[in-house]
């Protein structure tokens, strides 16, 4: 099991960005407006909140008594779908233990109605689902974690005392084990 795990970790984590100083360019405001208007008609009746990174970022830095499990996923990402039940199970078991699970969806805008909504409905997903729609990925990926190359699934677990980032999928046991380092 351990070996399989390491192999998986090697495969998913192998891109580590050594050139840390990726140009930290502020997204030009005009571009942001353009993106918002282009996606407006698509998003008008989507059931989930749609954030650009600036609007989303506060979810990564909450300073309360909860432990946050922030999972980045998409309906087209097979390993994301494979691990989804584990996040749901952990949420069901630990929501009364100050654990919040936020499923950050990265589907393309044309998939929100056609794929995301039906998936969440069919699977009866109970965790909070938000959409992160910000094409300037090179700007925001390092703000989630400098360790992240951009592959999904990826998960951030944090509380006000510590945070860990995982660029890989989880089994239920692995997720519980990592989470237990945050919840006492």
């Amino acid at each position: 099991m351990n070996r399989l795990f390491i192999v998986l970790a090697v495969l998913t984590l192998s891109f580590s960005c050594k050139d840390k100083k990726v140009e930290d360019k502020v997204v030009a405001e005009s571009t942001m407006e353009k993106n918002q208007t282009t996606s407006k008609n698509v998003e008008s009746d989507v059931k989930f909140p749609i954030y650009d990174f600036d609007a989303f970022e506060p979810l990564l830095h909450k300073d309360d008594d909860n432990t946050y499990v922030i999972n980045f996923w998409a309906t087209w990402c097979q390993p994301c779908i494979a691990e989804m039940p584990h996040f749901e199970q952990v949420y069901a078991e630990q929501k009364d233990n100050n654990v919040k699970v936020i499923l950050v969806n990265l589907d393309m805008p044309n998939m929100w109605k056609s794929r995301l909504e039906p998936y969440v409905e069919k699977k009866n997903i109970q965790s909070e689902v938000v959409i992160l729609d910000d094409p300037k990925q090179n700007v925001w990926i390092p703000k989630v974690s400098e360790e992240w190359g951009g592959a999904i699934p990826a998960t951030l677990i944090y509380n006000k005392d510590k945070r860990s980032f995982y660029e890989r999928g989880f089994t239920y046991e692995e997720l519980n084990q990592e989470l237990s380092k945050f919840t006492k």
Partner: protein
Amino acid sequence: MKTNKILGIVALLLLVGASLAMGVISSEEISPLDTGYEVGDMAADFSLKNVDGKMVSLSDYKNAKGYLVIFTCNTCPYAQAYEDRIIALDAKYKSKGVPVVAIMPNNPSKKPGDSFDKMKERASSKGFSFPYLIDEGQKVYPLYGATRTPHVFLLEKTSKGNEVKYIGAIDDNYQDAASVDEKFVENAVDAMLAGKEIPLKTTKAIGCSIKA
């Protein structure tokens, strides 16, 4: 007496060593691992099967000044969003000595949509002007350190070998080619061909993780 003491120390050292090793292993599971190329490394050549059945190596391109090695596939929505832009890159830079060499890294038994037959179909329906190679046995993508599709490695042919000059995304807007502000790959190739410093040597992007 003395021997006992030494034995004791050795045993102690072994214990410490073992616990350290265990600690290292468990922390390794969750920290990023250092594999694959970084900018400045020399990239290995390969011999992979193209959709036309012929084997292709970088060394086949006698007059190349460099290569755009792009790990991509049929099935990933990001790869699909970038297909036309990959074709455009080949159209723009092949004549300048920097051809696109596309490699499909997924395991087709996990991703039937990326089978060799499906690759052939895709290459012909999209009119790929560049080789579309299958990474049979999945040996090449881990060597390069590709983790997702699409994932671009710009190489410059030098007297010492093929030097990695840029690693990352094609540009900064997967959704809409018309809304791109920074053409990362074009900027890198232009700088390389002009003998200038590449402004942005690595970039990050969301992509489909490669299926082993």
